[in-house]
């Protein structure tokens, strides 16, 4: 059974249509990666799923439930099931790492305090930051902040995790520590949609690669097929440019 099913989803920024009918699906535990040139709409897919960019058409199903984005309450239902990690980490700067992780579970979900804190410590261990629980974001490196953001997203126990170019703002030597954390999640069976320019990483962890261009999905397939043997000129052209070095 498909875990997430996106059918003919459209989205606009003002009058500019950035998603022109996107359809794809992923199974539970599967990792899909959205790749394609800048401006192709990859990040918009994730933002639309999270209700940050309004959807103007199409349907989104999670399990048997149809996600509607027409009211604040329904948008929150989608946000209950999915979590996103942004390129720029977007941590709350005036809160400690621990507060960043526990704010939503405690105040929004109203889960029990002991459980939330135990879980937060487990997640910090998972991303290798057990010793920085009381640090503030501005005391951490970019890679550390991004790992905190990853832990914060997981603290809400999402069914699906969306990663929006999580390593694009990082210095090259910090990229691996974040990718290592994502790799651990992949091994734990987390369902993920990853927008990334790290093609070697995508090839390693993704079950499915979705190539996008100008608001359309051009080609879908296993990483090896897409990267080495793409069927469309547009995809072949793109990969020949970025995989050459």
């Amino acid at each position: 059974m498909q875990h997430l099913e996106v059918s003919d989803v459209r989205a606009k920024y003002g009058t500019l249509e950035v998603l022109k009918g996107i359809s794809f699906s992923i199974k539970k535990g599967e990792i899909a990666s959205l790749v394609g040139p800048s401006g192709s709409g990859k990040s918009t897919v994730l933002r639309a799923l999270m209700g940050l960019t309004p959807i103007t058409g199409g349907t989104v199903m999670i399990g048997n439930e149809r996600m509607n984005y027409s009211s604040a309450k329904e948008v929150r239902a989608a946000r209950d099931r999915m979590a996103i990690v942004f390129q720029q980490y977007n941590l709350f700067q005036n809160m400690t790492v621990m507060q960043n992780l526990t704010l939503a579970p405690l105040k929004i979900k109203k889960w029990g305090k002991t459980d939330v804190i135990t879980e937060a410590h487990r997640l910090l261990g998972l991303v290798g930051l057990s010793d920085r629980a009381n640090a503030f974001p501005d005391q951490l490196s970019g890679g550390q902040q991004q790992r905190v953001a990853l832990a914060r997203a997981l603290a809400l126990k999402p069914q699906i995790l969306l990663l929006d170019e999580v390593t694009s703002a990082l210095d090259p030597e910090l990229v691996n520590e974040v990718l290592d954390a994502v790799r651990k999640l992949a091994n734990e069976g987390m369902t993920m949609i990853i927008v990334s320019h790290e093609m070697a990483f995508v090839r390693e962890v993704a079950d499915k690669v979705i190539f996008m261009d100008e608001g359309h999905i051009i080609e879908v397939g296993k990483p090896a097929d897409i990267f080495d043997n793409s069927q469309t000129n547009r995809a072949r052209d793109f990969f020949s440019k970025i995989l050459r070095h």
């Binding site: 977007n90 005036n94 939503a104 105040k107």
Partner: protein, 225 residues
Amino acid sequence: MNYGFQFGVVWDNIPELLEGAWLTLQLGCFAFAGGSLIGLLFATIKTYGVWPLRFLVDCYVIFITNTPALIQIYFLYFGLPEVGIRWSNEACLLIGLTMNAGAYLTLILRAGFLSVRVTEIEASQTLGMSLIQQVRYIILPHIAKSIYPALANFFIVVLVMGTSVGALIGVDELTGQAINLSTVNYRWLEYFTVVAGMYVVLTFIASIGLALLGRWAFRVKARIF
């Protein structure tokens, strides 16, 4: 120099000076609190309001911040009675100072509104926060922290410079009280030495209070010295 200091006369009138200092503190606090409400309302209008309202707020801010507080208070105390509006001198001082503080606080609070990071708002939305929860947990703490130093400085300005204007319309706050007393026995030097000291003590107490509040509420590392 042959001046014989006589602090004894000042000492005898310390209770009157303390009364003046108490009035100064009250006027400063009330003007600042009232000004904060005006500032909060007007900064909200300037950030989110429609243009005719924004224009009115702009006019208010421009007029107030570009004229001396003394003129504004003279306008209320000497000007308005000509058209039949007559308030007591203390009321004129308090209203004038509140309106004056309101304009500056509009600017300070607006800077705070503009400093809220869109990225943090988006993060809080995706974590499932409602608008009210975003305001409570993310927006207000951020604004409070970022404008706290400017607010604390401005409070001292209102407390010291603002209230002392009252002496010129006969309000018996600390400066007014010092003028009254020293006119009786011409011990200007002694009185104003002591009053200067009292102002320093007053602002020192206020600074400690503000710094403690800032540390406790907003994690601001405020320095007292």
